[in-house]
């Protein structure tokens, strides 16, 4: 069971005051909460990496929580910020991992959900941008191959990918 808002808030006040035991419990609970948060947002094999990233961010920026404000929206904002950053990296360098088989070993449903979320995001882009992002960043085609398939020039493919990713990042940031 994941801790509730009052428990989180109480532990966080203690952690801000340097209570190591409370800090340990809090970090563990935050880890569980983050795991659930990311379960529907990224493929399973990326979750632990992302949870660790957010835990580090959480620890480093713990002074920015104001006890007069709710804790979970603050945590969610940090998690979303890191998630957007993670998506940028994935789309830029590691997009093919979304299709890797090792994800299926854990849970096929998780992969499908990640894929569905991705498709929903892509559907918010103009068709030309979504098509080339899908081809180059997810399927793994080269810029030239995508240009030949879509009839766009190579420069236009690059521009559409750049603009599409930028818009995608904005859309993710706007997600509540």
């Amino acid at each position: 069971m994941v801790a509730d808002e009052p428990t989180f808030a109480r532990l966080m006040v203690a952690a801000q005051d340097g209570d190591k035991a409370a800090g340990n419990v809090l970090l563990t609970e935050v880890g569980v909460w983050l795991e659930r948060y990311f379960r529907r947002r990224v493929p399973p094999h990326q979750i632990d990496d992302l949870v660790q990233e957010v835990l580090i961010a959480f620890y480093t920026k713990r002074a920015t929580w104001d006890p007069s404000r709710p804790f979970l929206p603050w945590l969610a904002a940090i998690a979303r910020y890191r998630w957007v950053d993670h998506l940028r990296k994935v789309y830029k360098h590691d997009a093919k991992e979304l299709m890797d088989d090792d994800a299926v070993e854990d849970s096929e449903e998780e992969v499908v959900m990640a894929r569905v979320s991705l498709d929903r995001l892509l559907s918010g882009l103009p068709e030309k941008q979504a098509r080339v992002i899908e081809m180059v960043k997810i399927t793994g085609l080269s810029i030239r191959e995508a240009a030949e398939k879509t009839g766009q020039s190579e420069s236009l493919v690059k521009v559409n990918i750049h603009r599409g990713l930028k818009k995608l990042a904005t859309m993710v940031e706007e997600v509540e």
């Binding site: 660790q52 104001d66 929206p73």
Partner: protein
């Protein structure tokens, strides 16, 4: 202590818990105070270099001077307010007051342009347009540069505070830093400038806002990424 990813989450949590020390909470009011202090420092520097324009006290300042500086002050207040609250992570919609304030300030140069243009297009008032164009104050662009330079002090304070915080919308923080630096920097310089004609005040006393808004949007996100 800087934390790095570990083999397991448990190991990372253990390391962080062992290192858990009391922290001083980051408060928006600290940011507002720091930026206000930077604006005062910028004003003092401008006064030391250019001298305070006493026309403001003796009643010589034109209405344009007061209206423009009033709008700059409002823009500065709203952008600083938005900026310091954006330093703390939060979800949900944020107010757009700073951008509306910037729009209101933009009315100064737009109205000045329309006024001079309409004078120029009407024979009866063409001499007014000629006067404006022949007035050296209209072309005294240095005020825009000085105001922008003063804005650097405000921008520095804003970036320092944002780096202490954890802004989750970097582009917005960049715009707000630019608007705050431009408006408060311009204001810091403007109180030393005796040129208070419509064209001069509307253009050269507001252009630092445009400069810093663009500079803030382009440069600040790279400086505050965490």
């Amino acid at each position: 202590m800087t934390m790095e990813k570990q083999q397991s989450r448990e190991a990372l949590i253990a390391a962080m818990a062992a290192d858990m020390a009391p922290v001083q909470r980051v408060k928006p009011s600290q940011g507002a105070a720091l930026i206000a202090f930077a604006a005062v420092v910028a004003s003092v520097c401008c006064i030391a270099i250019f001298e305070f324009w006493t026309g403001q006290i003796t009643g010589d300042a034109s209405p344009f001077f007061w209206i423009t500086n009033g709008l700059l002050l409002l823009l500065g207040a709203s952008s600083v307010s938005g900026l310091v609250s954006s330093a703390l992570p939060r979800v949900g919609s944020r107010g757009n007051a700073p951008f509306w304030s910037a729009g209101m300030l933009a009315l100064a140069p737009i109205s000045a342009f329309i006024t001079v243009l309409s004078w120029g297009l009407n024979n009866e008032h063409a001499h007014h347009a000629a006067n404006v164009m022949n007035d050296p104050a209209t072309w005294y662009w240095e005020c825009g540069v000085y105001g922008s330079m003063a804005g650097a002090i405000v921008a520095l304070a804003a970036v320092l505070f944002l780096r202490r915080g954890a802004p989750v919308s970097l582009e917005r923080a960049g715009w707000l830093t630019g608007l705050a630096a431009g408006s408060l920097g311009a204001l810091a310089y403007n109180i030393t400038c005796p040129l208070d004609t419509l064209a001069h005040v509307a253009f050269w006393h507001t252009v630092p806002v445009l400069f810093w808004a663009v500079a803030g949007r382009l440069a600040v996100p790279h400086l505050i990424r965490w």
